[in-house]
Amino acid sequence: MKTPPAIPRDCWYAPATSDEVDRELLPIRAAGLPLVLFRTVDGVAVALEDRCAHRAYPLSAGELIGDTVRCGLCGFVFGPDGACVSVPTQPHVPYGARVVSYPVRESDGLVWVWLGEPGRAALHRIPELPWLDSDSWSTVSGEEEVLASFLLLHENFADVTQVPFVAPEIAPAVLDTAPPPLDVVVSETSVSLHRDFPPAPLPAWQAEIVGCPLDAPYRTEQSGFFPSPAVWVDHWDAQGEDGSWVRLRFTQLVTPIDESSSRLLWAVSRDFALGNRAVDQYLDSIFTDYYDRVIDAMEIVQDVLDIDGPGPEVNVNADAVGLKIREIVASLRAAEGS
């Protein structure tokens, strides 16, 4: 049995949305590191190490003054590049007084932070999730701290066979009858899955929103993507008999907090019933409930692992995606050295 991989840091993670990062100090833990996020006066998002260089006090408990952060305990002041710019007790700043400043990028309404070696940030890509910040899509979302490892969450999202067990009422009816073959495509750092369902009724909740008869047949294409440890994306695209499409995107942003807890930012986006508040509320209640159930199940698995340790596991062929994710995470971690 190989030891389970720790958290890869050479990855762009999205621990917060752009809306959450503002002119106040936001403490967040990611990949075992304490971060404090804020915006400069000009609106640039910044991520600093959330621990004063002087003594062990979180900068987030201090004050944001202009583009600088002042420690609430000792008064050291740090600029957005992490360098200490002044200390209250002497005219000169001690040499080497600084906190880590992490590379930050913003795209698709998310704040992405690079937690690995800063020089390697440009060599890795940020996943593209355009539907999260587009007028052609409506999105409902939620954010939870989950007491389970990021890898358990990914393996759960990658396991297309679990939905009918965890949440039978939201699963497409066709999953119960004759699941079509699952095509899995792998490369060095990513995995995707795809399957095409023959025409069948949409799940009741979706038919209701689309406003079609409950038994109207739709041909459905399902795809799932693991572009990096930061996110799992599902596409459910359904085409009615008249040729029109209704599309759903499930975005699951996973940021490891430490080895056994994670931040999950989930978003359900649709390209129909745009801007309809009642539909938003309906979907929000359905999927808050769904993700709560997934989270409960994963927290139970993490509990068992914490109490009894990893045990022998039986794999089936349909686990190919989850197993490949484990492999990718292990090699990312191995490449970071010890």
Partner: protein, 323 residues
């Protein structure tokens, strides 16, 4: 609930040659893009792709562009006199606008983060080193490159390398005595905290391997172009339990595990079928593997954790694999 058939494959796509350039005597670089401008899969330094050149010829080439470029794959190809057809095909039949099917990328030569590196390249073995050096440089690591070749005119990427100044040592002229003393100087004394990466002809790899024998385990990383010779190996019949699928199959003396598994309609990944590309690496649950590949190092072989099912066989009469 009925059965879900899972079909596993690697990323595969027809790409267009955006540029075909002669960069040294008998060496070309081929840059490939998606015909619709779609992004290509991400990779890390040391990765390679398959070029599927004809139905019979599939060859592996290291990626030598930038991993940050999501639009392009670039490979460097030597027209080797002893080519088995792959590089000759490229040199004779490929031009700008040609369509080439690719598979991958995959990486069995990953660059592990380290404060210090010694890179040693022979001839076209320089290709995987280029993105490795860029990454080492970006990470602020200390590194040196020793690059040997037939002649300066035959050594590719010299303009790209000269900007690194005295970190790069060129040894043109196939001078064995000079190469030997350069290797002794760099590798004669084991240096903990330093990783050695080498790629090139078998003679060079053997010399590096021999000198790194006294280095801490895990210091040496090498990639072979061609399969290591397996002399005197006798092929016998054995049984393989496919744990995931829940069946046991017989592998006849004249078939590989890979072929036997495929004969039973089970989806497995494979590419080179000669134990050099690492695509068919499979987890071993039980049994004693007769390793015949050129991918795993001695430690990895001894650990018996994985097997390249295209060439490796069994010493214990029965293997249990996670398939």
């Amino acid at each position: 609930m009925t059965e879900t058939e899972t079909r596993l494959r690697e990323f595969e796509s027809d790409l267009v040659v955006e540029s075909y350039e002669t960069v040294a005597e008998d060496v070309v670089t081929v840059t490939l893009v998606h015909p619709d401008g779609e992004p290509l899969p991400e990779w890390t330094p040391g990765a390679h792709i398959d070029l599927i050149l004809t139905p019979e010829i599939t060859r592996q080439y290291s990626l030598c562009g930038s991993p940050a470029d999501s639009q392009r794959f670039t490979v460097g190809i030597l027209n080797a006199p002893d080519s088995r057809g792959g590089s000759r095909f490229v040199h004779e039949s490929v031009q700008n606008g040609s369509v080439i099917r690719i598979r991958g990328p995959r990486n069995h030569f990953p660059l592990v983060a380290s404060p210090r590196y010694v890179f040693i390249a022979g001839g076209i073995g320089i290709t995987p080193m280029l993105p490795m050096i860029a990454e080492a440089e970006a990470a602020g690591a200390e590194w040196s490159l020793l690059y040997g070749g037939r002649s300066e005119a035959s050594m590719a990427f010299l303009p790209e390398l000269t900007k690194y100044g005295d970190r790069v040592t060129l040894l043109p002229g196939n001078d064995v005595a000079l190469m030997t003393s350069a290797l002794d100087e760099r590798l004669g004394t084991p240096r903990p905290g330093t990783l050695v990466y080498t790629c090139g002809p078998e003679g060079l790899l053997g010399a590096v391997e021999q000198r790194c024998g006294s280095w801490p385990p895990g210091s040496l990383h090498l990639e072979r172009f061609a399969a290591k010779a397996t002399e005197g190996a006798v092929d016998t019949e054995f049984e393989v339990e496919l744990a995931r699928t829940g069946i046991t199959i017989t592998v006849p003396a004249d078939r590989s595990i890979f072929d036997a598994v495929q004969d039973h309609g089970i989806s497995v990944l494979g590419s080179c079928h000669e134990g050099i590309c690492g695509t068919c690496e499979t987890v071993v649950i039980d049994g004693d593997v007769d390793h015949r590949d050129s991918v795993l190092n001695d430690e990895e072989k001894a650990s018996n954790e994985t097997i390249m099912i295209c060439v490796s066989r069994c010493r214990s009469g029965r293997l249990t694999l996670d398939l």
